[in-house]
């Protein structure tokens, strides 16, 4: 899978390349609607914002977690803590490549003990990232429950993991690649497939 552009400096390129880079399956408004729906579903499922913690998986999951937190506070008028959880050292393919740069882990001040943690990621694929996130969380605390919210579920799970909140189910073949771009990081909000 070619990873999407990771350099912040390449924002202009990404925008220009957006069209030839594959078919757009979600545009900015679709993403906003999906996140609004996910926010409401989280609130409905959890019966309010109390005891919720959102943890995004870097890089783009963190931005999604912050957006969901903002929507929830808009709706409920209560702040929901949002942080990030780096899974690099817990990955099962750590030994198969050179050691990778670590990404920020920011646990909100209240911690995660006895809270309901909603993990947020952009694309759910094999499920291996989520497994490593569950392991990483084990070393940080004991949540009361863990839920999973993703913007895109593209199928092809290799582990018994499923998402509780899904922005869009996107049936794909293994040769296709799905790219999520977010304004905070890539300068534009869109999901493309090619």
């Amino acid at each position: 899978m070619p990873a999407p552009e990771t350099q912040v400096g390449s924002t202009a390129d990404t925008t220009a390349d957006a069209a030839p880079d594959g078919r757009v399956v979600l545009d900015a408004r679709d993403i906003a609607r999906a996140l609004t729906r996910i926010s409401h579903e989280i609130l409905e499922r959890h019966k309010g914002p109390e005891g919720l913690v959102l943890l995004g998986i870097p890089t783009r999951g963190v931005h999604l977690a912050r957006r969901i937190a903002a929507k929830i506070s808009q709706v409920e008028g209560a702040e929901v803590p949002a942080g990030s959880l780096d899974t690099t050292m817990y990955r099962d393919d750590l030994r198969m490549k050179p050691a990778r740069a670590l990404l920020p882990t920011e646990i909100p001040p209240g911690g995660i003990d006895d809270r309901t943690v909603v993990l947020v990621d952009d694309v759910l694929f094999s499920g291996r990232t989520i497994r490593s996130a569950l392991d990483a969380m084990n070393d940080i605390g004991r949540p009361r429950a863990v839920r999973l919210a993703v913007l895109v579920d593209r199928g092809h799970r290799e582990l018994p993991i499923r998402a509780d909140f899904v922005g869009k189910n996107l049936p794909t073949s293994l040769v296709e690649s799905v790219s999520v771009r977010l304004a905070e990081f890539d300068g534009v909000d869109e999901v493309t497939i090619k």
């Binding site: 490549k97 050691a99 990404l103 646990i107 952009d122």
Partner: protein
């Protein structure tokens, strides 16, 4: 591909920044209830110490254990080394035990280099101080401490920052490694010492030199005081300066001199300190002093080095892989899950 860390000169700017950023993420581990990461599970790291050391050995041991590696401590006292075993035979023993990395401190300059390049073993070698030559992880932790205090942007190095390194430069492996690394990171280094304590060939180092501490202090962003290494001076017969009193008058940092510093300037010392000689107690314990923080940062920096050297299938730092190690290594979206 290099898998050793023998000299601060092995690190490109990209490598050095990768170590600093990695250390920054690992530093937060100290605040968590479970101070353990799984990255080096099943790896064996040998601490091979031919020379006394407290903080460096403990720091490496803590770093390796926090990354879940198995640690074997091997010091010259109480081992076959004191019975005259050669470095080669020791290396072959370690190889036979399956060490993935050897952290070596030796009184002879160049010993880690020999261990790494003589073909005796396949382990990674990390120089934890060799004679009066180099101590690269000390330089990294010093640079990390400066970077945390003086640089707001994690993409930046130490460009344009002025660092004064003061004292016994001649016997200091810390000074040499720092001069090399700080130059790589863009800082301007001035070595301040009496002429007798500047090393032969210092004019070829990427630094300025001065004999006048009072002239250098007001311009400096960092003042690093070095220990006067009496044990090495005694070996060569002494005579480097007339009296301790005269030395500390001219090259010691006291509160009068500290008052000349800019508000943001930090005071560092790699330890162990001779209080009252190169640094007075009130300066060492003042708010400007980051000496205790250096020790804390040492664990994070050594974790970063061990992780980057041993965490993957090959080293992420050192030489050709430098640029590739920083950018594309950030896993993202579906690419990471593939």
């Amino acid at each position: 591909m290099k898998k050793h860390l023998l000299s601060a000169a092995d690190l490109t700017r990209g490598d050095a920044l990768l170590v600093l950023r990695t250390a920054e993420e690992l530093r937060s581990l100290a605040d968590r209830p479970i101070k353990k990461l799984p990255a080096l599970r099943g790896r064996t790291i040998v601490n091979l110490f031919f020379e006394d050391s407290t903080r460096t050995r403990i720091s490496f041991e803590a770093a390796a254990k926090r990354l879940s590696a198995d640690v074997i401590n091997f010091s010259a006292k109480g081992s076959s080394l004191s019975k005259g075993e050669s470095l080669k035979d020791t290396a072959l023993t370690l190889e036979a035990m399956g060490a993935d990395a050897v952290v070596v401190r030796h009184w002879a300059s160049g010993a880690p280099h020999l261990l790494a390049n003589a073909g005796w073993s396949r382990s990674s070698v990390i120089n934890a101080g060799d004679g009066t030559h180099e101590h690269p992880t000390q330089a990294l932790l010093d640079a990390f401490t400066m970077w945390r205090h003086l640089t707001a942007d994690p993409g930046q190095g130490l460009d344009g920052r002025r660092v004064a390194i003061v004292g016994d430069i001649l016997h200091s492996r810390v000074a040499r490694s720092n001069a090399l690394l700080l130059n790589t990171l863009g800082a301007e280094v001035t070595l301040v010492a009496p002429p007798t304590l500047l090393p032969y060939g210092v004019e070829s180092w990427p630094v300025e030199t001065s004999y006048d501490l009072d002239a250098v202090l007001p311009k400096s962003d960092v003042v690093m005081m070095l220990r006067v290494q009496k044990e090495r001076m005694n070996l060569s017969g002494g005579g480097f300066f007339p009296t301790v009193r005269e030395y500390s008058r001219r090259y010691g940092l006291d509160s009068r001199r500290m008052a000349q510093l800019q508000d943001h300037t930090i005071v560092m010392h790699p330890g162990p300190m001779n209080r009252g000689m190169e640094i007075t107690a009130d300066v060492a314990d003042s708010k400007r002093s980051v000496i205790v923080e250096q020790v804390t940062n040492g664990v994070a920096v050594r974790m970063a080095v061990l992780y980057l050297l041993l965490g993957g299938n090959e080293s992420a730092i050192g030489g050709a892989r430098a640029e590739a190690g920083t950018e594309p290594s950030i896993p993202t979206t579906d690419g990471a899950d593939a």
